[in-house]
Amino acid sequence: MQNRLEELRRQRGITQEALAAALEVSRQTIGSLENGRYNPSVQLAFKIARYFAMGIEDIFIYEEEV
């Protein structure tokens, strides 16, 4: 699953640390999400969407595996 987390974070001038603190996760988790190495739980995806005041599907792009 791809996401626009890094792009949105940079647009708003937020550091990974600040985003991690706001979402109450570790900075490493934000890094892993941005690199696409880790897919968030539904709860975390909702938290991220609410933080950016956007819909989940505007941030996370789900591509079905063929």
């Binding site: 109450e24 996760v25 490493q28 739980s41």
Partner: protein, 148 residues
């Protein structure tokens, strides 16, 4: 994971419990030496293990309590976030699952090894531990299947 970082009240209780269990274990080991100084070699080793295990638990408990007292609320909050972080939890679960698989393989290898060397009781204990592991997995699977 022996050292954990929950809320400070939870951690205080956890570290105090470690100290109590450690102290009981040390007392048992020491009392054994005092009241049965002529104990067999095996029993003496067992008593020594009790003292060592108790000392380790007490040490961890004391260290944990001192650390909790010295940590700032901000640092405690950061550690709480690290502990509850979903990715960290997943990493820990995966690592534990691999560790459990390795332990299972070792139990089988040791059971065969002990039997080949003629140590019947340890071999049977290993097989018993394997059964206990399989049964606990089945029970946990059943429980969580109903819960989730």
């Amino acid at each position: 994971m022996l050292i954990r970082y929950g809320s400070s009240t939870q951690n205080n209780a956890f570290f105090r419990l470690l100290i109590i269990v450690g102290a009981i274990s040390m007392l048992f080991g020491s009392a054994g030496y005092l009241f049965k100084p002529d104990a067999s070699d095996y029993f003496s080793t067992f008593l020594g293990m009790c003292v060592g295990f108790g000392a380790a638990l007490t040490g961890i408990g004391i260290f944990g309590l001192i650390r909790l007292k010295r940590l700032s609320p901000e640092k405690l909050k950061r550690e709480e976030i690290e502990r509850l972080d979903e990715r960290n939890k997943q990493i820990t679960l995966t690592a534990r699952s691999i560790g459990a698989s390795v332990a299972s393989i070792l139990l089988v290898v040791c059971a065969f090894l002990f039997m080949a060397l003629g140590y019947r009781l340890p071999a049977l204990l290993m097989v018993g531990a394997l059964y206990a592991q399989v049964i606990s997995i089945l029970i946990a699977h059943r429980y969580f299947s109903k819960k989730m």
